[in-house]
Amino acid sequence: MSDKTMTVDEVVSRLHSGMTLGIGGWGSRRKPMALVRALLRSRITDLTIVSYGGPDVGMLAAAGRIRRLVTAFVTLDSIPLEPHYRAARERGAFALTEIDEAMFMWGLRAAANRLPFLPVRAGLGSDVMRVNPGLRTVTSPYEDGETFVAMPALRLDAALVHMNRADRLGNGQYLGPDPYFDDLFCEAADTAYVSCERIVDTAELTKAAPPQSLLVKRHTVTGVVEAPNGAHFTSCAPDYGRDEAFQKTYATTPWPEFAARFLAGDEQAYRSAVREGT
């Protein structure tokens, strides 16, 4: 069986401008931030980003890397509105596909199930239909005859997710209260890259945690990266909570200054800048 471990930079070397990337987590929770930071160090741009958005979207939008964003919201949770995302959106920096949270989930499910679409009772009557003129409806062929939105599959070129633990083969484990949709992102993608707090032996995974914590299966995974603090400054329960002080620094610092102070170097440089900066 193949060892899939690699570095963040090896992950980024497999990504290209123009790709459709799905990013796991939810808002400012367990986002694969080390992978996002590595993306920001590269010259990759013109991306279609599919994300329940948090600072991953804020940073990529501020840096001008997004051509189109597919999302239901962008938030920092404890800070409801993501300032860098807002600024980019208000200057018209990228195209937006704005869909409902449930439509988003069914779009990933359709992709994971190799279906062109799934019917969803959501969107009709709302302006989601107006701002997405390509959305089609489907009518139940059974007696009820109800009309639904036919949510198209959200197929991804690559998925980026962050787990608490993983083995070298790509089996990923979450130890917090919510899996979010990280397994679905991996299943909906042609390639998937899992960063994790710690790589452990396979047998170690279920020593202290139940088997249902094994969220991501290795057959859906292309590469595994050990990235301690890899979700920082978003939460990664139970390994660490959200770094609220640093998130506030992020939210209140003009983007060019933030990028220069914290994102000019590698992960090690980032960590020492964070230590000095808050």
Partner: protein, 239 residues
């Protein structure tokens, strides 16, 4: 007990949204709706389910009684066993709600949260709204981006219902022939004129408008000593 504050009338008006709902998930967005939901759970709606704001279902004392990660939460929404009270940056006379952006969607003047789950919520289970500062900026003739679906656009969708809108001035419902917004009760101390002045559309006002009901002594004690001893409610509505 000292006099009932405006914030406490708002708590009661929000709590009342969940009366008679039975064993459903109460999803309050905002501080006063959260106090209201917990008050309802502790008094007249003991079967309600509540979350910790993350992935757990909890009793009012914090005891975990269930697991509800986002994927199950979204399934519960489409199953219909939920009554959410959402906020609204804009709401119109038929109950269309906007939390996405202000101005032209293509290039908004102010980007807000995004549609979130408002489209799926409004087509699948009761959706009420909480507006802590009633004004013409919020109660508008037309919302800029329809997120939560109102009665004029729901086309009779089978699970669509907006039980009530609560603001710091009063309670509103859609019990009119054309399902447009009606003033249902006034919080004590507020006049019909004040409400009309702060509303950007023609509001139906019945000849007799009842006051929002008084909290009982027991409810006041629960609000002040058990559910919200820190007084978070006054951060949304000044006492």
């Amino acid at each position: 007990m000292t006099g009932v504050t405006r914030a406490e009338y708002c708590v009661i008006a929000c709590a009342e949204a969940w009366r008679g709902d039975g064993e459903v998930l109460a999803s309050p967005m905002g501080l006063i709706p959260s106090v209201g939901a917990r008050l309802a759970r502790l008094t007249f709606a003991p079967d309600l389910l509540l979350t910790d704001g993350e992935a757990l279902l909890v009793r009012p004392d914090g005891t975990t009684e269930g697991w509800l990660p986002y994927r199950q939460h979204l399934a519960l929404v489409t199953g219909g066993r939920r009554h959410v009270m959402m906020g609204a940056s804009q709401i119109d006379r038929f109950g269309n709600q906007n939390i996405s952006c202000i101005g032209d969607w293509e290039r908004p003047r102010r980007q807000l949260l995004g549609v979130r789950g408002a489209p799926v919520n409004t087509l699948n289970h009761p959706t009420s709204y909480w507006i802590p500062r009633h004004s013409r900026r919020v109660f508008v003739e037309r919302v800029d981006m329809v997120c939560g679906v109102g009665y004029d656009r729901a086309a009779g969708a089978r699970h669509h219902r907006i039980p009530r809108v609560v603001s710091d001035l009063g309670v509103f419902d859609f019990a009119t022939p054309d399902r447009s917004m009606r003033l249902a009760s006034l919080h004590p101390g507020v006049t019909v004129e004040q409400v009309r002045e702060a509303t950007g559309f023609e509001l139906t006002v019945p000849d007799e408008v009842p006051p929002t009901r008084e909290p009982t002594a027991g409810e006041l004690r629960l609000i002040r000593e058990v559910v919200d001893p820190a007084g978070t409610r006054t951060r949304e509505v000044a006492a």
